[in-house]
Amino acid sequence: MKKNILIVALILFSTFGFAQKKSAKLTDPEIASVAVTANQIDINAAQLAQQKSKDQEILNFAKTMIADHQSVIDKATALVTKLNVTPKDNSVSKSLNANAAKMTKSLNAKSGKAFDRAYVNNEVAYHKAVIAAVKNTLIPDAQNAELKSLLQSVMPVLKTHLQHAQMVQKMLK
């Protein structure tokens, strides 16, 4: 049972581009880049949902995703500006963008209820993957205390998003 959970977690982790070898520790500029990229990807997906969906629950959820993830980006941008850190593109952020492009293509090909279900299923899986990445990689790797603290304060937001997405997922069934 535990083995199965681990396998599922690893699949989710790598599907969205968060797979990272244990030895390759991310630097703070790289963590900043991953954080901004991960938030922007979810904003882009939500904007797509606003264009394609007519379901009020989906539209409300998408609106929340845009507002919350933009708020996190703003806070992260303010912090890196204060710390004089320039976000550095890296293999994880590149992988995230590449996988997001595939996901966008897949979502774009759907419409109606099929789109709604695919979008919310993706949101559930994406937030699970992001929570795992923030908890197991970004927070432990962060060197600056303020950056680590910001990442820790993002965790409850992500968990709430996951619960919200799961609630919408049940409503669509």
């Binding site: 929340t64 507002a67 806070k75 304060s153 993002v154 409850p156 937001v157 619960q163 919200h164 609630m167």
Partner: protein, 145 residues
């Protein structure tokens, strides 16, 4: 004569400043139907900071003085259940990263969005269940003793 003019000018500036402060201190008037229940008593606010105009309004009243506070932090209302007497004021302070709102479960009243770092106050007249309409999983309860 010149001194008088300076004195008059100062008074006008002070009066203008006071009016601006009172105007900015009023609670969100965008609240829905039950907005009359929202506290409009500007004496609730302690105006002791020159930077107040740039910052969210803060109420520094002690707990129990017809006042209770609910801290919004880590996507939770703390405490989730707040007990007050009829006519008491509750202040919800948003110490989270994101905007939140306080919406009565029957949608009879709502705060509208409360930005990160801002707060909202309401005079309580009856029991109420409420939730954040932005984050549906966040729920709280007001109990009147």
């Amino acid at each position: 004569m010149r001194l008088n003019r300076i004195g008059l000018t100062s008074n006008i500036i002070l009066l203008g400043g006071l009016l601006i402060i009172i105007g900015c201190s009023r609670p969100d008037t965008n609240a829905t139907s039950n907005s009359t229940a929202i506290a409009t008593d500007t004496s609730l606010y302690e105006l002791n900071n020159k930077d107040l105009l740039k910052k969210p309004v803060t109420i520094n009243r002690a707990h129990g003085d017809h006042y209770a506070a609910v801290d919004i932090r880590d996507m939770k209302f703390n405490p989730e259940t707040v007990m007050v007497n009829k006519g008491d004021t509750i202040e919800w302070m948003n110490d989270d990263l994101t905007a939140h709102c306080i919406t009565e479960s029957g949608k009879h009243w709502t705060s509208g969005p409360i930005a990160s770092g801002a707060s909202w106050v309401k005079v309580i007249s009856e029991n109420a269940d409420y939730y954040c309409a932005i984050h549906l999983v966040m729920k709280g309860h007001i109990g009147v003793r």
